[in-house]
Symmetry: C2
Subunit: 208 residues, 2 copies
DNA sequence: TTATAATTGTATCGAGAGGTACAAATTCCT
DNA sequence: AGGAATTTGTACCTCTCGATACAATTATAA
């Protein structure tokens, strides 16, 4: 008993979303044309519009998909027991993701629409908001850490969260510019020097 | 005695370049249309093409203009006497420039074309090269510093230069996202914590 | 005065952008 | 079998893109 009447869809929604993600990731929102999308997704234009709405709607769906599939390391990092480990997992997780050979280099949430024309400006602001949400989550985690005595009293969670996000954004630009995974790891090492605590499981265990 | 025959130009080249810069800076290479440019520059299309070539040529001219007028702080920083002062001036100079209220927020060299369609890809690569040139200049300055005993032997100039550029790129993204000058200064303060030396004239003198 | 050389403004070009109308095709429900 | 409902593919729409043709205009040089 099929709940849906009418001719069934001949393509897989998630597979199509994944293809769309890869194109948006490489070319950005403005740089991606409808022809790019339909070619990569293997469907024609009316099917795309019927399934996802217009280009802007599709991009937001892609952003959600991207957050679930490629930014899960943030949630993992926030679940780490100590503030130091949170920062360490955050930066190393970002380094791994940004230079994953199976995906385009860099971060869609940064290079998707950093600056753009008037048409795409709402997309640009949307991603600013989403980045701010991520930063707020980090800040709240670090505030909890300080209340637990896990951070010194002279360490300000808001400043540390801002700093962490800045390093991640900087690494995104570097990755988009062709930086290797090893270079990103060196950046993480330099950045973690300023963290108010010592010792990294990544260094100790030879992680990755 | 005029050296040039023919009808004289009725607009100022540098003023037009400055107007073009502001548009490219806000909207990026792809997000800027010829109509945007001619409107902002106060000239019509054939005048633009006669004076600057096509859109791509104009953008390269704008990049040169931008480097001279808005990235001079890098040269100043590299002329500082100590490695620590170089880094300090570099980051604080970037913070000032990126949040200058007289110009669009962020850095044209980053957000001009971080990711884009096929048409603009050569522009994207051009800016990757220019950023790499800047990083190389910093690295060479730090290598000199180490040879002068100005940096500890376990400090690697290549890693430090990469780290500095990454923080600057990250601040560029933050500025483009609406970060204030004060926030950027806090980022600099956090980033300088990891530098292998102490004491900042910015902090001591209450610079800016 | 005439020829030459450059700029300016209008009007337009072909190509590609995002988005849709519409009929054929394929399924479920009665 | 015969609708009702949905997807698919082709063809097309309007709009904007970057780029130019061309004549009128304004200067210098002979």
């Amino acid at each position: 008993m099929n709940m849906v009447v009418g001719r069934p869809r001949t393509f897989d929604i998630d597979k199509a979303l994944d293809r769309a993600l890869m194109v948006f990731w490489r070319k950005g929102y403005e740089g991606t044309s409808l022809a790019d999308l339909t070619n990569a997704m293997g469907i024609n234009r009316p099917s795309l519009y019927a399934a996802f709405g217009n280009k802007e709607d599709l991009f937001r769906r892609v952003l959600d998909y991207y957050s679930q599939r490629h930014m899960a390391f943030i949630g993992d990092a926030l679940n780490q027991p100590t503030a130091w480990s949170v920062a360490d997992h955050l930066l190393n997780g970002a380094a791994d993701m940004l230079s994953d050979p199976g995906t385009p280099p860099g971060c869609l949430m940064v290079q998707g629409a950093l600056s753009c024309g008037d048409n795409a400006d709402c997309i640009r602001r949307e991603m600013i908001t989403r980045r701010a949400v991520g930063e707020a989550a980090i800040r709240e985690r670090l505030e909890r850490a300080r209340s637990e005595g896990d951070l010194p009293a002279n360490a300000y969670p808001a400043d540390l969260a801002l700093y962490l996000m800045t390093v991640i954004h900087g690494m995104s630009v570097q990755a988009a510019s062709g930086a290797t995974h090893d270079e990103l790891r060196r950046i993480v090492k330099a950045a973690m020097r300023s963290w108010p605590k010592q010792g990294s499981v990544y260094q100790k265990n030879g992680y990755r």
